[in-house]
C-alpha cells in the first residue's frame, strides 16, 4: 500500500541539472530502506520553479525540496520518508526566514497560492508518460462528453462563448477560427494542426505542457477535429525539444493503444489520428502559413493571407491551427463550461495566461495567472522580486515581436488589449525582467539581431529593412549616432511594419519602437553624450584609474586579461608606490579590474 509519492521533476530544466540521477537515487535508496511497497517515485513534468531545480515534491504533505543533489537523497529518505522529519535545509524558503518547516508545503507558498493553473493543471502533478494518471485527473472525459453529448456546432459555440483567444501571440478568438473552418463537414478533407514551434526568446510554456501533460494536447486536438470535421492532426514541434517530442510520441502511442486515437473513438464512429512533424527550429516556422508550408515538406516560408488557413491551409485544405497552450485550455472549458472560463480574467481577455519569467528575477520559471493580473504582482509577489537589491527598469513581453513595459506602467493589468495599447504585445508569454544594469538600446539591438538572423528572406521589407535597422542601432551603440538616426529608425520601422509579408516582419521593429517610446533619453545619451547610462555598450564605456586614490598595489594589472593596465611614474602624495593607468587602446572593457581594486580607484563611465 503506497503512503507517499516522491515527485521528481523531469522537465528540461531539471533534467539538465541532473534530475534523472536523483530519481534513480531515490528508487535505490527507497529499496535499500525496504520502503518500496510504501513509497512510489514518480517522474513529472515541469512545476515552474525552474530556477530552483532540480525540484522534488513529497506528497501527501506537499513538501517542496529545491536544489536537490544526489547526495541529499539518502538524507531525505531516512529523515523524511522513514522518520517523518522534513529536511529543513532543502525546503524552498521564499521568505528566507528561519521557519522553513512551517511553510514546507508547496501549497502554502506565495509562488503557488498566487497562481491559477488551468493550462498547466497537470504539469508537475502527474506522470506524463502514464495515460492512466491523466485519465484519473478527468482526462479524456471532455472528449467523451463532446462525442456523446454535443454536436460539433455546440462544441464551437462553447468555445466561442468561453471567450478563449489564441495563446500563441495574436490573440485571435479560437472559436472563430474553428467556426471558419467548420463548413462542409464530412465532404472535404480537413486538418487540425498544433503550433508547438515555440520560438519566442525565453518562452517555454508549450514545451512544458508537452513534457508535463501531453495527453491534454491530444485530447484537445481530437475535440477540435470533431468540431470542424477533421480526421487527421499534426503537431509541429521543434526538434530542439527532444524530451517533449519523446513524451508526446509516447502519449500518442498510448492513446492509440487505448483507442482514444484511431478509428471509431468511444464507439461513436468518429475517427481521428495524430502525427508529429519536426521542425528544424526556424523562428519563421512559428508563423502559421510558414508552419504549414514546412509540414508539407517545403522550405518554411510564409505565404500571403488571405486565403486564411481556415479556407486553404495545410495541403490546400481547410485547417485549424492553434497553439499548445490554447489547446491545453480546451478540455477544461468543455468539462467546466464556458461560463466558468468566462468568469476568469478581464472583459476581453478570458481565462489565464502562462508566463515564462526570465531575466533579472529571483524565481525564474513558469507561472500561470488569471488575465488582468498586474505586472507588479507577477514580478514582486510570484517572481520573488529582483535580486541583489536592484531597481526594476522594464519588462519585455512578447519576445522579438513585443515591446517593453517601463517601470511607471508596472501596475497595468496584463491582458491582450492593454499590452497592445502600451506598445507591447502578449506574444506567447515570455516575460523578461530588466533592471537598472540593462541598456535599452542594447536590448533593442539584441532582439533585432535575432530577427535579422531569423528573417526568411522572402520579402524585401523584412529581409533588408531589419538589416538596415540593425546597422543604425550598431552605429548608435558604437558612439557614431546622430539625432537624425532616431527619425530614420522610426520611419524605417513603420515601413517594415506595414509592408512585410508575415507576422515576423510586421512585428520585428516593435522592440525598437517601444524602447524609443519609453527610453528615448537613453538613445539620446548614446548619441549626444556618447555615454551608455547602464554601462553596457562597450564602445561607450571607459574605465579609468584615479591616480590620487591608486596605491600602486598592482592587483588590477595582474587580473587584466588584455595587459592593458600599466604602471606610471606618478606617486600620489601619501602613497609609496607609483600609480597605474589603463591604456584605452588595449582595454577590452571586460570590467575584470573593477572588483579587484580594494581602494575604489577604478571607475566606469
Amino acid at each position: 500500500m503506497i503512503r507517499a509519492h516522491v515527485l521528481c521533476c523531469g522537465g528540461t530544466g531539471c533534467t539538465s541539472s541532473g534530475s534523472p540521477k536523483i530519481q534513480s537515487a531515490f528508487q535505490a535508496e527507497i529499496e535499500k530502506n525496504g520502503l518500496a511497497d510504501e513509497i512510489k517515485v514518480v517522474q513529472t513534468g515541469c512545476f515552474g520553479l525552474c530556477a530552483l531545480g532540480p525540484v522534488v515534491i513529497v506528497y501527501p504533505d506537499g513538501t517542496f525540496y529545491s536544489n536537490v543533489t544526489v547526495d541529499d537523497v539518502a538524507e531525505i529518505v531516512s529523515e523524511h520518508l522513514l522518520k517523518g522529519r522534513v529536511v529543513e535545509r532543502l525546503v524552498y524558503n521564499e521568505t528566507n526566514d528561519d521557519h522553513a518547516a512551517e511553510h514546507a508545503s508547496l501549497n502554502d507558498t506565495t509562488f503557488y497560492k498566487s497562481q491559477m493553473r488551468v493550462a498547466l493543471r497537470n504539469c508537475g502533478v502527474i506522470n506524463p508518460e502514464s495515460i492512466e494518471e491523466y485519465i484519473a485527473m478527468d482526462g479524456y472525459a471532455a472528449l467523451g462528453k463532446v462525442l456523446t453529448e454535443m454536436t460539433p456546432d455546440e462544441v464551437i459555440q462553447t468555445i466561442l462563448d468561453s471567450g478563449l483567444r489564441g495563446r500563441g501571440g495574436a490573440g485571435f478568438p479560437t472559436g472563430m477560427k474553428w467556426k471558419f473552418a467548420s463548413g462542409n463537414r464530412g465532404n472535404v478533407q480537413k486538418y487540425v494542426c498544433c503550433n508547438a514551434d515555440e520560438g519566442d526568446l525565453g518562452a517555454f510554456m508549450d514545451r512544458s505542457v508537452l513534457e508535463g501533460d501531453p495527453h491534454a494536447l491530444i485530447e484537445a486536438m481530437a475535440i477540435a477535429g470533431y468540431a470542424i470535421g477533421a480526421d487527421q492532426g499534426y503537431v509541429y514541434v521543434r526538434a530542439e525539444y527532444p524530451i517533449a517530442v519523446q513524451r508526446l510520441q509516447i502519449a500518442i502511442d498510448q492513446a492509440r493503444e487505448y483507442g482514444l486515437l484511431g478509428k471509431d473513438i468511444f464507439g461513436t464512429g468518429f475517427n481521428f489520428d495524430l502525427d508529429i512533424r519536426l521542425g528544424a527550429g526556424a523562428f519563421v516556422c512559428g508563423e502559421e502559413t510558414a508552419l504549414m508550408t514546412s509540414i508539407e515538406g517545403k522550405r518554411g516560408e510564409p505565404r500571403p493571407r488571405p486565403p486564411f488557413p481556415a479556407v486553404k491551409g495545410l495541403f490546400g485544405k481547410p485547417t485549424v491551427l492553434n497553439n499548445v497552450e490554447t489547446y491545453a485550455n480546451i478540455p477544461r472549458i468543455i468539462l467546466l463550461g464556458a461560463d466558468w472560463f468566462k468568469s476568469i480574467g478581464t472583459e476581453k481577455s478570458k481565462g489565464t495566461k502562462v508566463f515564462a519569467l526570465g531575466g533579472k528575477i529571483r524565481n525564474t520559471g513558469l507561472v500561470e495567472v488569471p488575465m488582468g493580473t498586474t505586472l507588479r504582482h507577477i514580478i514582486e509577489e510570484i517572481g520573488g522580486g529582483i535580486p541583489n537589491g536592484k531597481k526594476f527598469k522594464a519588462a519585455q513581453t512578447g519576445g522579438p515581436s513585443g515591446g517593453c513595459i517601463p517601470a511607471h506602467l508596472i501596475d497595468t493589468p496584463i491582458d491582450y488589449d492593454n499590452l497592445l495599447e502600451i506598445g507591447s504585445m502578449m506574444g506567447s508569454g515570455g516575460l523578461i525582467v530588466m533592471d537598472e544594469d540593462n541598456c535599452m538600446v542594447d536590448i533593442a539591438r539584441f532582439f533585432l539581431d535575432f530577427t535579422v538572423d531569423e528573417s526568411c528572406g522572402k520579402c524585401t521589407p523584412c529581409r533588408v529593412g531589419t538589416k538596415r535597422l540593425l546597422e543604425i542601432l550598431d552605429k548608435i551603440i558604437s558612439g557614431n549616432g546622430e539625432m537624425e538616426d532616431l527619425d530614420r529608425l522610426e520611419e524605417l520601422s513603420n515601413y517594415i511594419k506595414s509592408a512585410s509579408l508575415c507576422g515576423l516582419g510586421q512585428t520585428a521593429p516593435n522592440p525598437v519602437l517601444s524602447t524609443l517610446r519609453y527610453f528615448r533619453e537613453e538613445y539620446i545619451a548614446h548619441i549626444v553624450d556618447k555615454k551608455c547610462p547602464a554601462g553596457v555598450c562597450k564602445k561607450l564605456v571607459q574605465f579609468t584609474i584615479d591616480a590620487e586614490k591608486c596605491i600602486g598595489c598592482g592587483m588590477c594589472a595582474k587580473n587584466c586579461p588584455a595587459s592593458a593596465i600599466v604602471r606610471t611614474d606618478y606617486v600620489a602624495p601619501g602613497h609609496k608606490l607609483a600609480s597605474f593607468k589603463i591604456d584605452s587602446s588595449k582595454c577590452v572593457k571586460c570590467g575584470a579590474c573593477l572588483p579587484t581594486c580594494k581602494f575604489k580607484a577604478i571607475s566606469k563611465g
Binding site: M1, I2, A4, K83, N107, A136, G267
Partner: protein, 124 residues
C-alpha cells in the same frame, strides 16, 4: 476505447493512486515517526492507518502522514488527528488494533476513542 464506461472504470481505478497529490483532504492522521516512535512500533501503526483508510474508501477525505518527534517519547507511538474546526486529538501508545478502532470509531464514526487519548493516559 469503446465506451465512456470503460474510461470511467480506468478513472475510478486510478483515482486513489493520485488523490494523494491533491492535498484537498479534510482529515489528517499524523503518526510520530522519529527514532523513538519507530522503536516503539510506529511503523506497523502507520501502515495500519494507510491500509485501513484505503480499505474503507476514505482516500478522498483522509490523509495519512508522518511527523517527527513531538517530545513525549514515553507515550510513543503517538498519533494525532487533525480535523477542520475541531480540536486536535492525540492518541498515545498506539498499536495496530488500536489504530483499527480509531479508524472505525473516530474517523468514520466521528466519536473520539477517549480511552486511548493522552488525557486518559495521564490520568491512569
Amino acid at each position: 476505447m469503446k465506451s465512456l464506461a470503460e474510461l470511467a472504470a480506468i478513472r475510478e481505478k486510478m483515482k486513489d493512486k493520485v488523490v494523494l497529490r491533491e492535498g484537498t483532504t479534510n482529515t489528517r492522521i499524523v503518526v510520530g515517526m522519529a527514532t523513538c516512535g519507530i522503536a516503539a512500533g510506529a511503523r506497523p501503526v502507520l501502515n495500519a492507518f494507510v491500509e485501513g483508510v484505503d480499505k474503507e474508501g476514505l482516500n478522498d477525505s483522509v490523509t495519512v502522514t508522518q511527523t517527527g518527534c513531538i517530545g513525549i517519547c514515553q507515550y510513543e507511538p503517538v498519533v494525532e488527528i487533525f480535523q477542520p474546526g475541531k480540536e486536535k486529538v492525540t492518541y498515545v501508545k498506539m498499536t495496530v488494533e488500536k489504530a483499527e478502532k480509531v479508524l472505525k470509531e473516530h474517523i468514520k464514526g466521528g466519536k473520539v476513542v477517549e480511552e486511548y487519548t493522552i488525557a486518559s493516559a495521564k490520568k491512569a
